[in-house]
C-alpha cells in the first residue's frame, strides 16, 4: 500500500461509513508520511473546528510515528523525551486521541486523524477504517 489520493479516499470513505454507524459527525484527514495533507472530508453538519483538529491529529501521528494519544506521555518527567509536548510544533501537535499512523508492514506511509466524537469513538473509527482498507489495498 502506498499513500496516494486513491488510498486516502478509500480510507476516508471507510472512516465515514464507520462514523455513520456510530452516529457521530466527524471530519477525517489523511496526511502523507511527511505530514502533508492528502485529503480531508467533513461530514455534513459536523462542527467546523473538527476540520483542523482532524488535520492536527493526522499530522501528529504521521510525524511522531505514534498514536496522537501517546504524545501525552511526554508530560511525565520520568519519560525520556519529557517536554516534547510543550514545544511549538508548527502549531499542529496535539495530544487528543484519534490520530493513528498508517503503516504498510513496518513502514509508516502516513497518518489518519478523526475528530467529531468522543476520543475513544474517534480512535475506534480510525482503527476500523484502517483495518478495512489494509485488506483492500
Amino acid at each position: 500500500m502506498v499513500m496516494n489520493m486513491d488510498t486516502a479516499k478509500k480510507i476516508i470513505k471507510a472512516a465515514i461509513r464507520h462514523a455513520q454507524e456510530n452516529d457521530t459527525l466527524c471530519s477525517v484527514a489523511i496526511v502523507d508520511e511527511r505530514g502533508f495533507l492528502v485529503a480531508l472530508h467533513r461530514m455534513d453538519r459536523a462542527p467546523i473546528p473538527t476540520v483542523d483538529i482532524a488535520r492536527d491529529k493526522a499530522w501528529t501521528a504521521a510525524t511522531f510515528r505514534m498514536p496522537s494519544s501517546d504524545i501525552g506521555k511526554f508530560g511525565d518527567p520520568a519519560t525520556p523525551g519529557f517536554g516534547f509536548n510543550t514545544q511549538n510544533w508548527n502549531d499542529r501537535l496535539t495530544t487528543i486521541p484519534g490520530g493513528l499512523p498508517i503503516k504498510d508492514g513496518d513502514d509508516i506511509i502516513g497518518g489518519i486523524g478523526v475528530s467529531g466524537g468522543m476520543p475513544e469513538e474517534d480512535v475506534a473509527v480510525c482503527e476500523a477504517a484502517l483495518a478495512d482498507v489494509t485488506d483492500l489495498c
Binding site: M5, L40, H41, R42, D44, I48
Partner: protein, 150 residues
C-alpha cells in the same frame, strides 16, 4: 440548494480533477461552505504540499468576499490605486488574519438566488501556460452541481 453537502463537494472535486488531469498539472482542489470552513480537500498525486493550503485559502477567500480571487487580485493592483494611497484594495492584504489569496483560482459558489453558499479553489495549474488554468478547473467543478440542480 441551500447548502453544500459532502456529496456535492465530492462531485465538484471529481469534475475539477478531471480538468486538472487534462491540463497535465497535478493540483489540489478544495471546497468550503458559506462559513469558509473546509468540506473536502484533495491533493492529486504529484501535486506539491503547498498547493493544499493555497487551494483552501483560495476557496475561503472566494466564499468570504463573494468575488473570484481573480477580482481580488485586480483590486490590489497598484494601477487601481486612487488619488489617496491605500484607496485601492491594498487594505485587503491584511484582512482575515492574512488568509486572503490574491491569485486567480478561487470562485464563490452561489445558489439560485445568487446567495453565496460556499467557495471552490484550485492550486497547481499555472496561469497563462496552457488553455486550462486554476480558474478553468474551479469553473468545471462549479458547473458539476449546476447541471444537476438546475
Amino acid at each position: 440548494m441551500k447548502e453544500i453537502t459532502l456529496e456535492m463537494a465530492e462531485k465538484m472535486l471529481q469534475a475539477a480533477e478531471r480538468w486538472a488531469e487534462l491540463s497535465g498539472y497535478p493540483s489540489s482542489i478544495a471546497v468550503v461552505d458559506k462559513a469558509g470552513a473546509v468540506i473536502a480537500v484533495h491533493r492529486m498525486d504529484g501535486a506539491g504540499p503547498m498547493t493544499t493550503d493555497i487551494s483552501i485559502n483560495k476557496a475561503f477567500s472566494a466564499a468570504y468576499s463573494g468575488a473570484p480571487t481573480l477580482m481580488l487580485a485586480r483590486m490590489i493592483d497598484p494601477r487601481m490605486m486612487g488619488p489617496t494611497p491605500g484607496s485601492g484594495g491594498l487594505g485587503l492584504l491584511t484582512q482575515a488574519k492574512l488568509r486572503l489569496m490574491f491569485i486567480p483560482g478561487g470562485n464563490p459558489i452561489r445558489d439560485e438566488e445568487m446567495k453565496v453558499i460556499g467557495g471552490i479553489g484550485c492550486s497547481g495549474v499555472p496561469d497563462g501556460v496552457g488553455e486550462i488554468s486554476d480558474t478553468t478547473v474551479v469553473q468545471a467543478g462549479y458547473a458539476a452541481i449546476y447541471e444537476e440542480y438546475d
